[in-house]
Amino acid sequence: MKNFDEIVHDLAPRKYEKPGIIWIVFLSILIVLGIIAYIDQLIQGQVVTNMRDYALWGIYISNFVFFVATSFVGSVTVAILRLSKNEWRTPLVRIAEIITLACIIMAGITITLDIARPDRLLNLFVHARLQSPITWDIIIIPTFMVISILLLYIPLIPDFAILKDYFAKTKPKLSKLYGILSLKWTGSPAQKALQTKSIRLTSILILLAGILLQTIDAWLFSSTYRTGWDSTNFAPYFISGAFVAGIGALITVIYLVRIRRKLEDYITDFHFDKMGKMLKLACFVYIYFNINEYLMPQFTAKKGETVHLEALFTGHYAPLFWIVSIVGLVLPAIVLMFKKGRKPLPMFIIGIIVVIGSWWKRYIIITPTLLEPFLPLQGVPESWYSYFPSLHEWIITSATLAMALMIITLLIRYLPAVPIQRTVDEQKMDIIEKPLES
């Protein structure tokens, strides 16, 4: 059993080592390239993308949906595990909160990349119309962002107080900043009661806002007549998909943080086993909704729907569709059923596969539908009959992903990736409850 000082020493943020610096430089390059490409897009117009009148949305939108989906991790792990009093969540929640915040910020940025006239963004407020699902998005995304900041910040307050003392001598400036952020936390019963209450309230809020956010995101599509989008199944389908994407991202990031920061004593195989079971559940729920979405319509498919499903099952999109569905969803679910599959390394690989699968899943939800309009595709250049992102789109999209990773990396650099105070408290409780064990 580690004592307080050891725990603080292990968990307190520390400087990057060489790989960390290389990583930051790599992300910075991607971001700079993305900014250059975006400026070019602003000057030339969205003609630099491969979107056209039929494929009128592309990877900017599917990437946006991916970010929104991944931001659901905060609602799932933090809120659900907290409200259901699952104690094993402790070393995982902080990273989940960080991913949530990074993803929702990037979702907000990504959606504006797709808007061709960002100079007129103010119109969204000046001339807002409540009946448009985009207006709902504009309401829910900032709301969710604020709640996710609170969800990250409130549990951090005691940790800031600890860090203030920890860095008092070595880094006075940083210590002062932590001091300000700690809001004069002393750990008095009154403060603790207030903090506990606030955390519980924020957990409930993030759960509700998360469900709303995913739902509105789904309605963005299901409020149109388009084949493949016009589905009453869409909101729960998106929520369950977000469940998968979020936990996949969480596992991936946690594995890396655990290795880089040598947190094996805090994030153990036990935690991976638990997360693995959770991802397994998520995958099966998502498979269930996929069956609802793709197999059931076979029975009553109208002509347009038949074309849509054929394009996915056997047509142009079949390879991608089956890879995403089998490798990205069914296979992980099967592997995770075995205890060996829930060890850290296999879980890390599964996490990466699930995240990549989730990204392409959004692509396959958005692109095929747009290229299957009700009236035939005629009278436009041949290149408009299909869609694959242009270089500009790839560079800009990579930059958004890099930015999300950058936010996560920076937050982990300056915040304790595992809650210190809570870890200490729990160890104390362990000592009181089972003193012989240690």
Partner: protein
Amino acid sequence: MGDTTKKERRKFLDKGLKVGIAAALGGFGISKITSKLNANSKSDSGEKIELMTTDGTLIEIDSSEVVEVQHSEDHDKKYNVREGMPHRKFVMVIDLAKCKNALKCQQSCNKHHYITGDNAWLKVYKMQESKDTAPYWMPTTCMHCDQPACVTVCPVDATFKRKDGLVLIDNERCIGCRFCMAACPYSTRVFNWSEPKQEFTLDMDMLEHQYSPEHGGMPSVKGTVDKCDFCPHQVKNNELPHCVTACPNGVFYFGDKYEDTVTNGEETLRLSKLLEDKAGYRLLENLGTEPNVYYLPPVDRLVDFEDGLEQFTEFQSVEKPTEE
């Protein structure tokens, strides 16, 4: 800010107009009374007179205030662009039996709206429902739906529905999110992906032209959506939309549903009778979008479908300027 004052001015004009028209009608209808009343018009007579305004509401005015005025000639031209021409409801009927894909409609539309992109606003589709049914040519414009999906989803009210039936776009407000394009089941909307390469000739008087949603393409704006506008700029000048006049086969009939008349420039017909006689229908009726464009089925055709194939270009709908 400028916008609101403009609006207020419009509102003021609108009100003034209504009162004026009311007074005018009253003046004509009861001119004898007014002339009598005019004799003692200075003071409040206490007598009320009931009048009907042009939009059918009954109003009461003190008889001393009733003054005879000139009948306003321009009430058709002065109206709020977002509300539309009063007492009109524009419709189109497209007779598929006559269409042989001459494409004059498309060319004329492209020319008069200065369309320079790759996707025309007016398309003539080569249609064949199934293997054993007859192929036919189907021109499509914007359907100007009464339940427009595009208007519902627009987050900034850039595309709007008017009382006279038109669905128009304010290119100065559109943010380019393309949600309307995703929503439109008729794929009628086109996007300005880059700066439009429109070349306005000098005789167009672009200097005097003020942007109005009533003339799409004048000019097209980068990063915004365009589509068929039903040519209200033509209607204002008592002329028919460009596609109607350009068609050599009289395929397009344009008119007013309230007047129950449509014309293709050569013949003027009763809309209701035409739709009844020729079994008119609307595209994708089952979606409930309530289009204002009606189709007459391609029966008893005068021309062979194959004749149109010559003109058919699968990958082009806007002729690219060739060096002249």
